[in-house]
Point group: C2
Chain length 101, copies 2
């Protein structure tokens, strides 16, 4: 469900993590998070992003390597484009109506 | 900030309201919300969407008329497209690297 993805992105720390991972994979310890945020707190945010299907992570030794899911943001982009298309169709129809009036 | 918009859309009731309003304006009382949700509860969700800049509403007599903001979802669409572009550039660069190896 796309609202889970929106909820996951509705937090500034998680949004920043996604922005960083869009530039390339990174170990959880290297994620740019607010100063003084503990690694367990960071990993909790990573878990929320994983649950929403936006991020995948693999543990290699003591490091958890994080990357964007291959289809991350596809559902968000599709939902957004669909609503915008509906809305502009509606605005166009309204425009035609006003021209004809 | 786009994370406020994501947070506003991260709730199934509010997502459904946006989907309905993309098809055209509606009075708050006609918004398709879960059965038994009170009008004050609906108006609270509308307020969250207004605070995020996604919806505007005008009170006409006893009815609060709601509509999608003209630039609703523009920031969401732009953010999403930007991250996807960064990510596919990264994947392309990785592909070239692997081909050259």
């Amino acid at each position: 469900m796309v609202h889970h993805q929106f909820a996951a992105l509705g937090d500034p720390t998680r949004l920043a993590i996604v922005e960083q991972l869009a530039r390339g994979p990174a170990p959880a310890g290297d994620l740019a998070t607010p100063a003084r945020m503990s690694l367990p707190a960071v990993l909790k945010h990573v878990r929320v992003l994983e649950d929403a299907g936006l991020v995948t992570s693999v543990k290699r030794g003591r490091v958890r390597e994080c990357r964007l899911s291959d289809d991350a943001l596809v559902a968000v982009a599709a939902w957004t484009a669909h609503q915008q298309a509906l809305w502009s169709t509606r605005l166009d129809a309204l425009g035609t109506l006003l021209e004809d009036a």
